[in-house]
């Protein structure tokens, strides 16, 4: 009896450790198998790999770009544009969304226009923004800010509108002032939806930065893409795409990690 209990006690943490180790790795399974398959296919000569370079060539290009410092320069330029556009887009989306969610009149006034603007494809703005703001950084940042604005606006407006009246009444019973009501009831109540809208906004920011850099940029990962196409270097294109994926995932992870302590209270289906 004692032996079995001890055995169970020994086995249990080991089993949990195994699950702990395996679960995040599961997500890597598919890309690794595909990459290895392609690598083998090229190395045994089933394909010449000129248009779709195998992982080893991409990795080589990637490390060459990194060693020459080019990758860092371009990545930083792109990151800076996304960051600046994200800050402006989030600020505008939060303010307009909160006002529209709070005041039905404002919503009736501005929401139809904003919904119409929202359905305009990002590329359509580019010529206009270049005319208005020139071909340098301003037009690019404005374009990214526009991309970030809409999901944040929609998310904040929806979240403010759907705050539970019953919870607001608790604030009234405790005689909270207007600012206290915002700080102690409304802000925490909208926080989960806000974080989701920030992450959606960031995703669109990464999409819009490519549109911005396709047109008249001499730095940035988007420039690397165009450069790779014009000089016939598919490995450079894929390396830039990989860099986009890494940066996008990393920045999203940062938002998710920063917001996690504020959302621990959520009664979620999955954890």
């Amino acid at each position: 009896m004692t032996a079995t209990l001890e055995q169970a006690a020994l086995e249990k943490p080991a089993g949990r450790g195994f699950a702990h180790f395996v679960r995040p790795v599961l997500g890597l399974l598919l890309p690794v198998v595909l990459a290895a398959g392609w690598e083998i296919a090229v190395s045994v000569g089933w394909s010449n790999g000129r248009l779709v370079p195998p992982p080893s060539v991409i990795f080589k290009t990637f490390s060459e770009l990194a060693q020459s410092g080019e990758l860092q320069t371009h990545a930083l330029a792109t990151l800076w544009r996304v960051a600046a556009g994200f800050v402006f887009g989030v600020a505008a989306g939060t303010i307009v969304g909160a006002i529209a969610g709070y005041s039905a009149l404002t919503q009736r006034l501005v929401d139809p226009t904003l919904q119409a603007l929202r359905s305009i494809p990002s590329i359509a703005w580019v010529p206009l923004f270049i005319l208005w703001f020139g071909i340098f950084e301003t037009s690019k940042i404005v374009l990214i800010a526009v991309g970030v604005f809409f999901p944040v606006y929609l998310g904040v407006m929806g979240a403010v509108m759907s705050v539970d009246r019953k919870i607001v009444e608790v604030g009234r019973v405790f005689r909270l002032s207007g600012p206290a009501m915002v700080r102690r009831i409304l802000l925490p109540a909208v926080m989960p939806a806000y974080v989701i809208s920030l992450r959606a906004g960031l995703g669109l920011g990464w999409m819009f930065v490519v549109a911005a850099e396709f047109l008249g940029a001499s730095t940035g990962l988007g420039f690397l893409l165009i450069d790779g196409q014009q000089l016939g270097k598919p490995a450079q294109i894929v390396a830039a795409i990989v860099a986009f994926a890494i940066l996008g995932k990393t920045t999203d992870f940062i938002i998710a990690t920063i917001s996690a302590p504020f959302l621990r209270w959520e009664d979620r289906f999955a954890r």
Binding site: K166, I167, E169, V170, R172, V173, F174, R175, A180, R184, I185, P188, A189, M191, F262, R264, W265, E266, D267
Partner: protein, 263 residues
């Protein structure tokens, strides 16, 4: 002293929910309001809480009019309405934010001990059972030491066992702190267990139909004949309030005969 002076409520769509309610509740009294649906019980409670403004008449607490939520009036709703982003202790101390930290911690701990949930201080509301959550809501309402505590069908969503448990609990808390309790309920048993006075209301529009003084000695034995008799009286009044006169006449007659024997 809580006074309702001809309080009425007519909604903008013309529906009259409440009409001419006159009521005096003295300090430390337990008043239970009972009645069919649509008789304005909750409307009345919300007017006392200052959450809705009555369209006629006034609510007075110690002579001054209540027009907005008041620091001496606490309310417990049918649902616990805990804030999900605060721990249990955070919820209980919600009304004490402007107090020094030490005092707040002490009063929260005391309130949690009173409702028997000291060990749950740091858990999230989602981890509580329905009865525990409602006890936290009671603690939260009691922490600012209200003079009047309003309860809007607070136990109606709980199972019978938890409900009886919480009724006893509420009585203990009341005996300790002696606030004025005004409780709305649908449950005749609950009314007779708790009340000093039972106010039966009638619907369309909501009015006071009958007041029944309930002076059985505490603790009240739910199995006793006197308890049963009081229950029948309330039921009879409820029936009449809903204009089911036929059934009632008979029941009233029997109740009147038995009355002298038991109480």
């Amino acid at each position: 002293m809580l006074v309702l002076d001809r309080v009425g409520k007519t909604y903008p769509n013309g529906v009259c929910a409440l009409e001419g309610i006159r009521l005096n509740v003295s300090l430390g009294e337990i008043l239970v309001v009972i009645g069919g649906s649509g008789c304005g019980k909750s409307t009345m409670l919300r007017a006392i809480a200052g959450l809705d403004t009555p369209s006629q008449g006034r609510v007075l607490l110690d002579g001054s009019a209540v027009t907005a939520p008041h620091e001496s009036i606490g309310i417990i709703f049918q649902e616990p309405r805990l804030l999900p982003w605060l721990s249990v202790a955070g919820n209980v101390g919600f009304g004490l934010e402007h107090r020094p930290k030490g005092e707040r911690a002490e009063r929260v701990a005391k309130a949690l001990a009173r409702v028997g949930l000291t060990d749950k201080a740091s858990v999230w509301p989602r981890e509580l059972s329905g009865g525990q959550a409602q006890r936290v809501a009671i603690a939260r309402a009691l922490v600012p030491r209200p003079q009047v505590l309003l309860l809007d069908e607070p136990f109606s969503a709980l199972d019978a066992f938890t409900r009886a448990d919480l009724q006893e609990h509420l009585l203990d808390l009341w005996a300790d702190l002696k606030p004025t309790l005004v409780m709305v309920t649908n449950d005749v048993d609950e009314a007779v267990v708790l009340a000093d006075r039972i106010m039966v209301m009638r619907p369309h529009p909501g009015r006071v139909f009958e007041e029944i003084v309930c002076d059985l000695p505490r603790p009240r034995d739910r199995q006793s004949a006197a308890f049963d008799f009081a229950k029948r009286r309330v039921l009879a009044a409820l029936d009449r309030s809903l204009e089911r006169a036929k059934i009632t006449d008979d029941r009233e007659a029997r109740a009147a005969q038995g009355g002298g024997l038991w109480w």
